[in-house]
Each structure stands twice: as C-alpha cells, then as structure tokens.
Amino acid sequence: MSPVLIAEQVLNGVQSGVVLFLMAAGLTLVFGVMGLINLAHGSLFMVGAFAAAGVASATGSFLLGLVAALAAAAAAGALVEVLVLRRLYAREHLDQVLATFALILIFSEGVRWVFGSFPLFLDIPTALSGTVSLPGGILYSRYRLALIATGLVVALGLYLLIAHTRIGMQVRAGASDREMIAALGVDIGRLYTVVFALGAALAGLAGALVGAIQSVQVGMGEPVLILAFVVIVIGGIGSIKGAFIGALLVGLTDTLGRLFLPPLFALFMDSSAAATVGSSLASMSIYVLMAIVLVLKPSGLFGART
C-alpha cells in the first residue's frame, strides 16, 4: 500500500467528514437551542438535492441549483417548524421522534409523487470537473477538494456567527436558559424559526453538493442522517465544535477502515473470505468507535450537558 494511496484516502475521509459536518451541524444546533430531536433532517438533505437537480437541469447552472437547494431546504425547514415542530418543543423526545418520523414518510413519498420514482441527474460543474495534482504526486478530484474547502468555510462561518454576532449570542443564551432569554425581550419564536431554517439550509447544501457525485433519489437522506447521529453522539450534542471533530473522526474511521481491514484479514485467511469479513467489520467500525467514546465519555467528547 503506497503512501500516495493512504494520503488520498485520508483526503477522502476528510471530505466525507466535512459533508457529515454540514448535516450534523444543523442537527446539533437545533437540538442545542430548541431541545428538539429531528429525524426529518435527512429529508431536508433530500429536498436540497432534488431542488438542485431540478433547477440545475432546467437552467443548466449548478450555482443556481445550489441557491435553489439552500432556498428550498430552508423554506421546507421553516414551514415544518411553523406548522408542526413548534408545537413539540415542550413535549417529550418521544413525541418529537414520532412526529419527525411521520414527516419522513410524508417527505419521501411526497418527493416521489412530484419527481417520480426514477433517480434524477445532477452533474458537477465543468469548472470543477477532473483532477488536480497535489504535492507528493497525489491526483485528487477537484470537486472533492472544493467540497472540503466549502465545508471548512461553512465551519468557520458558523463559528463566527455563533461567537461574534447578535443572533449567535441569542442562540448561545437560548441554549443555556430559554425562559430567561424570552424574558429579556428576544422574539423566541422567530429565533427558533431562523435557527431551524439555518440548520435545514445546511442540510440542503450538503444534499446538493453530494447529489452531484452520487445519485439523487428518494431515501438518500436516511443513511446520512444516521451517520450524523453517530457524529453528534461522539462529538457531544449541542456542540458545533464537537460536531466538527466527530464528523472528521467518523469520516476517517469509515474510509480508513474500509482500506485497511480487508488486507489485515488477508494476512491470515484467503483473500475472498478476507474481503467479505473485512468489509463486514469495516461497515461496523464507526459504531464500535461510538461505543468506545461512550464508555470513556458518556456525554460525548465536547458535550456539556447530559
């Protein structure tokens, strides 16, 4: 196994981690501020991808597609927040889980109703297609590099937004004491809608970005959603920093596990069996990681509250 291959795989791990971060950031923000667990976050990811594919194929512009993804996911998020989720903040997590499970059913079949059962097409923009040479002789997809950059920019932007702006202050205050901030005259209802729409827009962005290199189809959001859960459990719920570190950890563990486990087993069994056993265990590696983190730190790496 050459160092170039390993370096490339590390980049791949970072890239998948960065996309997971876009998903996990919205989830953790919504939980941190509103105390809401949202299973339908994966549906917003899907809405973003479909909006991007629809608009990009109509206009021929990937950029317009991205804008549409952000707008559609944010709008869908805001709508859902105002119509449904708002009534659930004070409820038990159980009700939230069920209501958002119901939303998944509605979103999935609704999207299928509108767009049909066939997967949609979304291509990467020509400016970002092909590969670039990185130092050390690594050939790497330009689009994936752009994904990593986008993710890092969004992470930085979120940090600045939360640490240094007025709305960020309200978000932090809201996370620690909801009654108090309402008493101070902040329009808490509007704040919640804005935060939810922001989280939804991030999920939509992730959906559109990923849609260009994968297939845009119904049900694409749920596997990512579950990975995002693993991320925020590892990182600590409510912590953006935790989501970032957790996402990178999960991305790297998954990618490197798939790279190293099959050859590891090939050392002491025949290659076909090693490929099956190795990939079976690789598919479980992130859950093992999660279990280890939980044993050591039950509230996640950066979780403040339990």
Binding site: I37, L94, F101, E109, V233, I237, Y287, L294, P298
Partner: protein, 328 residues
C-alpha cells in the same frame, strides 16, 4: 378505571373473534392478518415496557426483533439441511421445534439487550435515542454483510416450525399460539407494573433523584426492564419469522424500529393494550390505504402527525379515556 378495563377486554377479545370468523368464512388471509397483528402487538408490548414503564425511548428495538428472527432462521435452517449448528466445544443441532427456538430467541435477545443497555444507559434523553438507533444499524449492516446466513437475501424456511400438540400449518392454530403468547406477555406487563419493581421504575422515570435518595440505583432498574423488553421483542421476532417462514436483514432496519414505535404511539404509550390497538390500526390502514394509492405513506404520515399533535393518548386514549397510565 372501569372504562379502561372494559376497553382492554373488548380489544383483546376482538382479535380471536375476527380470527374464528375468518376461519368459518374460509378467509385464511384474514387469519394471517390477525396473526400478524398479534405478533406485532407482542413486539410493541415489549417496547412499551422500556418506553412506557421505564421511560426509555429506544429506537433500536429492531435489533432484538431481528435477533429473535435469526434465532428461528439459524436453528431451522440447520434442521432443514441436517447440519449441526456447532460441533465444538459441544455438539449443538439445529431445531424446528418452536419452544427450543423461543428459548434461543429469549436468551440471545436478552444478552444483546444487556450489552446494548449497559452501554446506552450510561447516557439518557436524546443521547439514548440516537445510540440505540446506531446500535440497531450496526446489527443491520452486520447481518447484510455476514455471508453465512444468506446476507441480504435472508433465509427462507420452507416449513413452519412445529409446536407440540398443534399443527402450526393450520392458520388458526398458529394464530392461537401467537395470541396465547401475547396474553402471557400482557399479563407479565401487568404484573411488572404492579410489582414493587414496577413502582420503583415508575418513580425513577418521573424523578431519578428521588429514587436515588431512597437507596435504589435507577441504572439497575432501567437495565432490568430494558433486558425484559428486549426479550419480549425478540420472542415476537421469532414468531414473526415463523409467520413469514423467512428472515432477512430488513427485520433489523431502523424503519422496523420506527414502526414498532408507531404501534405503541398510535395505540397510546404506557397503556396495557396500546400496542395491540396500534398494531391493529396500522395493519388496517396498510390494507385500506395501500389499496387507494401507491403513495399511501403520505396519508399514514399525516394521520400519525395528527395523532401526536392532537390526540396524545393515542387510540386507547380516545376509547378508554385519560388516566390509565398510573395504573399500568
């Protein structure tokens, strides 16, 4: 309380009445549906122990359901091919006898619940939900990629397993068996609810500090009820596999966890017969709505939302009136 009691009895009696009517009218498929209701209700009763009595919102109960299913699949497939399950350290043969299968289902799902519970219960609230979900997924991926027992293709068992004294191939006999198991589980749930253990658990759900000051560790209580809950759901999985004569990784999928939870909520959380009412309603909706539109999940989702938002006690809340909860 009287109204709740009447509603429970009426609901429990309804199922065998439907099955016997279907048997006389020669509608075997309706008996199959009634059996499915009984088995899914059993899974729901299991989840309801953790959810309603323990306040543990587990989104990973598909793991136990699937383990129960595979207990049946693995034993029966070895019996089918006359190959031993284990040769070392001792010879273990496959089996196509339901009591043996049930025992394995109970033990293995109980052990899995012990491990998952011991790790997951270190946390609570929303962490608990996500962790149980993730553990469920872990089993799902493992069952798909492990080739020995069919992987994603699953295992087809050509003959339904036997039970001493019954012909399980007769739909009504198999229904009777599933229904009897459901009754036992309901009785167990009632007993637990009224026992000192159940009372302590109930107290721990409402305020863990309070029971701690009384010298009880909520962790132990919760772990115990989680294991019991996993075992009942595992048994339901074994029966479900026998109903279909087939097991596959989809029993482990997180949608299965979600659906079991939907039965409980549709029916009414922490109500004795909530899961039964919920499972019956779900199957009814599936049959009726599925016929109206290919997109029936939209209506199911909308209905579910309405129940959560506006009818918090579920179906049993509407029929039996509020306030049964403390009595479970």
């Amino acid at each position: 309380m009287k109204r709740a009691w009447v509603a429970n009895v009426a609901l429990i009696c309804m199922l065998p009445v439907v099955a016997i009517w279907a048997s006389m009218a020669d509608e075997p498929f309706i008996i199959t549906l009634a059996t499915k209701v009984a088995i899914l209700a059993l899974a729901g009763v299991g989840l309801n122990m953790a959810l309603g009595q323990g306040g543990l919102v587990s989104l990973g109960h598909a793991a136990f359901f699937g383990i129960g299913g595979y207990a049946m699949g693995i034993l029966a497939s070895h019996a089918q091919s006359y190959t031993p399950l284990l040769e070392w350290p001792m010879l273990i043969e496959g089996s196509n006898s339901m009591p043996v299968i049930w025992l394995l289902a109970l033990v293995s799902s109980g052990l899995a619940a012990l491990v998952i519970g011991a790790l997951s219960l270190r946390t609570n609230g929303v962490y608990f939900i996500m962790i149980t979900l993730a553990f469920g997924q872990m089993f799902y991926y493992f069952s798909i990629s492990w080739p020995a027992y069919g992987g994603e293709d699953g295992l087809a068992i050509y003959m339904r397993n036997g039970f001493p004294g019954l012909n399980t191939l007769v739909p009504l006999h198999f229904f009777g068996l599933a229904f009897a198991v459901l009754l036992v589980a309901l009785a167990l749930a009632t007993l637990i609810g009224r026992s000192p253990f159940g009372l302590a658990l109930n107290a721990a759900r409402q305020s863990s500090e309070r029971v701690e000051t009384a010298g009880i560790r909520p962790y132990r209580l919760q772990l115990t009820v989680f294991v019991l809950s996993g075992m009942v759901t595992g048994l339901a999985g074994a029966l479900f596999a026998d109903l279909n004569r087939f097991v596959s990784p989809s029993m482990f999928s997180w949608q299965t966890s979600g659906e079991i939870m939907v039965f409980v909520i549709l029916g009414g959380v922490a109500r004795l017969c909530g899961p039964l009412a919920g499972a019956a309603l779900f199957i009814l909706l599936e049959q009726l709505l599925g016929g109206i539109s290919d997109y029936w999940h939209i209506f199911l989702g909308a209905l579910l939302l309405l129940i959560i938002l506006f009818a918090r006690g579920g179906v049993m809340g509407l029929i039996a009136g509020p306030g049964e909860r403390a009595h479970v």
